[in-house]
Amino acid sequence: MLRIVNGKLYDPANGVDGEVRTVAIRDGRIVAEQELDATARTLDARGLLVLPGGVDLHSHIAGPKVNAARKLRPEDHRQAPPVHRTRTTRSGVMGSNPSTFATGYSYARLGYTTVFDAAVPPLGARHAHEELHDTPIIDKGFFVLMGNNEFILRCLGKGEAEKVRHFMAWLLAAAKGYAVKLVNPGGVEVWKQSGGNVKGLDDPVAPSGVTPRQIVVGLAQAVAELGVPHPVHVHANNLGVAGNWATTLDTMRALEGRRAHFAHVQFHSYGGEPGALPTSRVRELIDYVDTHPNLSVDVGQVVFGDTTSMTGDGPLGYYLHGVTGRKWFNGDVELEEGCGIVPIRYKPGSRVHATQWAIGLEWLLLAKDPWRVVLSTDHPNGGSFLAYPHIVRLLMDREYRKATLRTVNAKALAKTTLPDLDREYTLSEVVIVTRAAPARLLGLSRKGHLGLGADADIAILSPGSDWQQAFTAPRYVIKDGAVLVEDGEIRQDYEGRTFHIEPPWDPAILPELRKWFADFYTIEFENYPVDPQYLARPERVALMAAG
């Protein structure tokens, strides 16, 4: 039992904005103070800020493509300070693709306590679970890639919506995944077939002729009908292409009110002509998102410096290799997905990169509803999650932002609204976009807030010389009621939960599935599903009422 006293609580989900409140913890949950007895320890948080633990709903931390990136870039590990082992912690490496133990410790030190990997192919689910098992402290889970799954594409092409739903449910259960992810729907299949891509929502994908529009809508519909707590998570077509704002808007419109979350939307907000310089078309997209509460986004903020692009969007990886000339990994997964990995460097003097950087901040500063705009860097694609505190400072400290603007390509900035934006985020708003909103969007009712019944995942910040410092080095980080991090030191090792869902499916699809596996896969149908013992601390999350 633990009692945190004298701290200023920031819990916007429960309407608390910096009041001094006592937070009572028992058995890893927030409880009413009268439930504590005399044995409860007290943590004096005088002068400190008490926040719910951070929730990252879009990151790349575990699974086959993440590990390929680690293997690909020894130089990236070497240029970062090493992670020394201690009596309680394992050693590791950082850089843009940290090793698993270092990933868990680093997130925890930042005060993040729940992290989801955004894209795992079901054939590699077992691998992702093994890596998550070696990722300490944080609660975790992953989204299952489905937007180029050949079984789904075939069914959608034939209009077999019900079968899609059952297969989706079967696949989520087989992978022990949490939600459904689409990456360049249809486009990766075209890449695998012929090295091409889709250019628009209505490009047919052989052999069924299904279109990206049908894939997005069909899967969004199935997700809603199954009651998956998190909406369909969409990496839209044409990522990175100048002029792609129209594709993004079309995709949003195509949903016709169905819930969807648009990933790293910064990369999808470009005006201009394909092949030419991108411009910012954030306004039109924000106006649409603001007026359509079925939609949410995470930003995918670019951070200047070296990082690694790592995406399920295979053709995008090849394109980036062509543009940068850097080494290139491509991994096509039979019947399911693809991936591309290319080192990348974002430069403040580059017109393109400066525009990308500005667009992410425009999203964060212009969006009216902070509950539907989540802070992310699409780690590591835009930059490392270690940069979150820096981005928070850019949002909260107008003078710092303006000083930073002076170091960035002025011509590019002049074509955006960023220089004119004076808004400063309140701490409450930061808590929303880094904790309360992602938790709510994920459908995790015990995360992102510190009301009664919430998990006692808490970050206690010391107001430092600036907000970046405060968020970089929380004074204490509490996980399930235990003080695991104190002044940046991991006090004890710990394994978090793995969240997953098990929607029901109709066994009538099994004969067709068995044949599918026998004909086209190279692994036995019986060996495909992940056994429960791969999850050390599984938590099955309840479905929502079908929507």
Binding site: H77, T88, R126, E130, G331
Partner: protein, 458 residues
């Protein structure tokens, strides 16, 4: 002790006069990791291995459930497992430059514990990759790799080029299960829809499967690959290439034209590239060639990994440390330097003063100078069989055979993770159990609190 396969874990159990069948079992003999093996178990023997190739059949059928071997040997005398674990931990903690090596024939679960031990000891950490496809891993770091899972080859590949390997003998089911004969989604006629090329220094049985066999001069693979790269890029190549490599220019030009026009090509390369003159340059050349061909069509490349779970070793070591092999943890964090920390080199230079060797037999296949040093230092060896390395060990612990006695996870050559279905119980513990006990004892000896890092035992 491992438990016998339980219903649902070991597949179907049909108790008919002491005979049962374990369906969908996984063979770990080679990197094909076939998981469609149906094992017939009679008493304490596997009597049938349906679908297994000659290597898999030997692997399963020759497995002796030998209860007569001692649990362990310490200093040449029979000992209990517990005593052996105690001595193992003691000698490893006492060492100043220990090495942890092997790992390619054990489960991912055991590999994770071995990495933890290396971390806590501050040891060198290396796997059999360093004597096999290590150079391919180095080339991967330089160039990258356009690759795919094996099902993509089955479903799409209309051109398959084997280079520097003899799959007919090293991976007998590769041709029929993945790369040459199977019908696939876009390869409806199977073999008829594929063009198969074999490049090697001599005509092996694999050549019978090929439409085109190119006999390259020994030590000239790099020159040949570089000429192909040139032709792909439109560089004019001198016909002196024939004297250099043994292959006429016209043959190469025709091959390149064909490569550009196929729908989906793949290079599958072996130790004929990674372990001959050039090593990582050879591997880099073939990876770059595959990459360059993507300008024209889909083209991919894969190293043909040998042991059943060497790919698992690469994956586990990489996710834990950031690097795939040839690592040192002596400064308290991972450092990577092939040549400095790889096991043959550390032994040959006489630097290691203790070794923990898991599921590998360096005393049987390392260079003599390395073996001589291995004999001089105290070693702990985990192996189901009394290998050459176990024979010279200070502590030799008999462990159960993965995939036959123990459950767990292995990674196929294309990184697909596959579960094992054990068929027979064993009175010997698994590698994972022994390593956990050694890890615990090392921590106790070091007076460190027990940490739940590699996860509680499942």
């Amino acid at each position: 002790m491992t438990e016998p396969a339980r219903p649902g874990e070991g597949g179907t159990l049909e108790a008919t006069g002491g005979v049962r069948v374990v369906e969908h079992a996984t063979c770990t003999f080679c990197g094909c990791v076939c998981d469609d093996i149906d094992l017939t178990v009679e008493g304490n023997r596997i009597t049938k291995a349906k679908n297994a190739c000659v290597l898999g059949k030997a692997w399963f059928l020759e497995h002796q459930l030998d209860d007569t071997r001692p649990e362990a040997m310490v200093g040449g005398q029979p000992a209990t497992t517990a005593a052996a674990i105690e001595e193992a931990a003691r000698l490893l903690v006492a060492a100043r430059y220990p090495i942890v090596y092997g790992l390619s024939d054990t489960t991912a679960e055991a590999q994770r514990v071995a990495v933890e031990i290396a971390d806590r000891l501050g040891a060198c950490l290396d796997t059999t990759t360093s004597v096999c496809h290590g150079p391919s891993g180095i080339a991967f770091q330089a160039v990258g790799e356009p690759t795919c899972t094996l099902g993509e080859i089955k479903n799409r590949a209309d051109m398959v080029i084997f280079w520097g390997g003899n799959p007919a003998e090293s991976h007998p089911r590769h041709f029929t299960k993945y790369s040459v004969t199977p019908k696939g989604m876009y390869i409806p006629r199977g073999r008829k829809d594929r063009y198969v090329v074999l490049v090697d220094v001599r005509r092996t049985p694999s050549a019978r499967a090929a439409d085109l066999f190119l006999q390259v001069k020994p030590g000239k693979d790099f020159e040949l690959l570089w000429a192909l790269r040139g032709l792909v890029k439109g560089v004019s190549i001198d016909d002196g290439i024939e004297a250099e490599t043994g292959i006429p220019l016209a043959t190469l030009e025709a091959l390149v034209e064909r490569m550009k026009r196929v729908r989906f090509g793949v290079f599958l390369f072996g130790m004929g590239l990674s372990m001959t003159r050039g090593k990582h340059y050879n591997a880099a050349a073939i990876l770059a060639l595959a990459r360059d061909l993507n300008h024209f069509t889909r083209f991919l490349a894969k190293p043909m990994r040998g042991h059943g779970n060497v790919t698992g070793a690469d994956n586990v070591v990489s996710w834990s440390t950031g690097y795939p092999f040839g690592i040192n943890l002596g400064r308290g964090y991972p450092r990577f330097n092939p040549g400095e920390f790889t096991t043959v080199d550390v032994l040959a230079r006489g630097e290691a003063d203790a070794a923990l060797i898991i599921s590998a037999d360096p005393a049987a296949n390392f260079p003599q100078v390395a073996i001589e040093h291995l004999k001089r230092i105290p070693t702990v060896v985990l192996d189901p069989v009394l290998s050459a390395t176990a024979r010279i060990a200070r502590v030799a612990i008999t462990t159960a055979t993965y995939g036959i006695n123990t459950a767990g996870t292995v990674y196929r050559m294309d990184d697909v993770p596959i579960r094992l279905r054990p068929a027979l119980p064993s009175r010997y513990p698994s590698d994972e159990e022994v390593l956990r006990a050694i890890a615990r004892r090392i921590q106790e000896l070091r007076e460190a609190p027990v940490a739940a890092t590699a996860g509680a035992a499942r």
